[in-house]
């Protein structure tokens, strides 16, 4: 059974699992895991790419027709740096898609909401398809929508922590109110976290550490692929309501049936 196709800007995706490309023990390991995941959108850090050559070692492992590249601005500390990085990425990777990452704090890599909003507004004007990495901040999501973002990428928990959906209450508000696709990014540590994100209605998830750093990245990629599919399928089937009590009888209104 197929799940609904995801549309972001001008592209459609059959897989709702997006991947990062960092932290793998080798590029061929990264390639294998990426192929096994069936992901159609992978993000690459501009700072890791050698833009002076056509044979960059990371990019050559991602040359598959179904894989779209999503360059990111990791390393940028403010909107100015991010915009420069975006322009270079567009030129080097020949795509106007961009994962906007502005984290002035190198410790937890937490995104700067003010600079991110500023950069999104400018980059949209310059014709970029912007997918900004942000806190799970519902108001910021609406502000980003207003300046033309193509999706939002709120974090589940601090990046690389594998802590799962610690921001779930805010993710639910974002999903409820969003007009653009919501991609839960960062902190997803296990396939069950990914499934949960899909069950609550996220449009996609982006996973890196949990797949790249473990005993068998390829196998883990398959586990995530299935979890994302299962979660989405469940969401589309509409989950039953959760209640605190069993409600087999209706003590207060049973008299109406007498």
């Amino acid at each position: 059974m197929k799940t609904q196709v995801l549309k972001i800007a001008d592209k459609t995706f059959h897989s709702r699992l997006f991947l990062g490309t960092g932290k793998y023990g080798s590029n061929s390991e990264m390639e294998k895991a990426t192929l096994a995941s069936a992901s159609e959108l992978v993000t690459v850090a501009l700072k890791r790419i050698d833009t002076t050559t056509d044979t960059d070692t990371i990019l050559t492992h991602l040359q598959h027709p179904h894989i779209n590249l999503l360059p990111n601005t990791s390393g940028a500390r403010n909107s100015k740096e991010a915009i420069f990085a975006a322009q270079l990425a567009r030129e080097a990777l020949e795509t106007n898609w961009l994962k906007l990452e502005i984290h002035p704090d190198p410790k937890y890599l937490l995104p700067d909401p003010i600079e991110t909003l500023k950069a999104t507004e400018e980059l949209v004007k310059q014709g970029f398809i912007v997918l900004p990495y942000i806190h799970a901040d519902p108001v910021l999501c609406k502000r980003l929508e207003e300046v033309g973002t193509s999706a939002v990428m709120p974090l589940g928990s601090p990046i690389g922590t594998n802590k799962g959906l610690r921001t779930i209450d805010f993710l639910e508000i974002i999903i409820e109110n969003s007009k653009v696709p919501v991609i839960v990014d960062a902190g997803i540590g296990s396939p069950s976290d990914a499934a949960k994100a899909m069950e609550i209605g996220a449009d996609a998830v982006l996973v890196n550490t949990a797949i790249a750093v473990n005993g068998n990245p390829e196998q883990m990629a398959i586990a995530f692929k299935k979890a994302v599919y299962a979660g989405r399928l469940a969401y589309e089937a509409k989950l039953g309501a959760i209640t605190d009590n069993a409600n087999a009888s209706s003590p207060l209104t049973a008299f109406l049936l007498d």
Partner: protein, 371 residues
Amino acid sequence: MSFINTYQQYNWDNVKKVIYNTTDRQVKQSLSQSNRTLTDFLHLISPAATPYLEEMAQCSQQLTQKRFGKTISLYAPMYLSNECNNICTYCGFSLDNKIKRKTLTAKEIEQEVSIIKSQGYDSILLVTGEANHIVNLQYFKQSITQIKQSFSSISIEVQPLKENEYKELADIGVYAVLVYQETYHQEVYKQYHPKGKKSNFEYRLDTPDRIGKSGIHKIGLGVLLGLEDWRVDSFFNALHIDYLQRTYWQTKYSVSFPRLRPAEGVIEPNFIMEDRDLIQLICAYRLWNEDLEISISTRESELLRNNVFKLGATTMSAGSKTNPGGYSVDEDSLEQFEICDNRNTTEIYNLIKTAGYDPVWKDWDKTFYQQ
């Protein structure tokens, strides 16, 4: 406010007492924490923690892989000059060491760069002594401007500079500045650095604050292991990093572990640090601070380097020359210290690769400063 205020609240002998009186129970407790404080770091570098080395190493490996992945960044040092007006009794470049002095010219720099580039490097560390009349801001700016098209990341390990000088260097593309306190023991520091600008302990101690204020992306710290008790010195180094991380929160930090190595005309270390001590220290740093970059130079032996990158290190050099012109221009000029791991870059690259790690040449981009 600067680190000096924090530093003055601690007393060397008291810190030493606490480290050496750490109990087995305290070590176990620190090991079981998920977020560790400086006190935990102190417990983990204590003699009481030595029976837990394997446990620490496994935890360190796991934390390092989670944060940095299975990657090791590679860089090459390039010594620009061995001119120096300081007397540092352990250093080959010391003023009183009567050797031929050399400072690379633009043409020589070009020649050295082409060798380093041909080995694959994209990150370079420029090193000098302290000779402000020749090797000064103007020289740095010229040299950096000359080579910046060739490297994505340029770091410097030179004499302490002023805040505005760091700012100028940040603006033209210096990514990181390394400055080692050598020792945090003020009196011992004075004995090892009797003459020259470097003899001013407090000015040096204040240097990372000036770098932090200048907007440089990364600051590298370290102590020269062998000058004093490594445990106490390393506690102060961690205290320094802790202070800087809280104060200059937009900056990255790295730590290096220069162990005193033989050099021309220098003294034997007063304190010997064994391999297992160094491993304990590296693991303690990682268990305390998941985000710290940990760098291992070619001062260390093949055996140690064959293993250390799997249990906490994130950055390595290879095939290094520690003399100006050492790669091609003047291979016999005086070196700062003897290299212990003499394997070339390809050998180290293959070593990392064979172990299932990704050797990374490039992890920065010029675009972040070309504004």
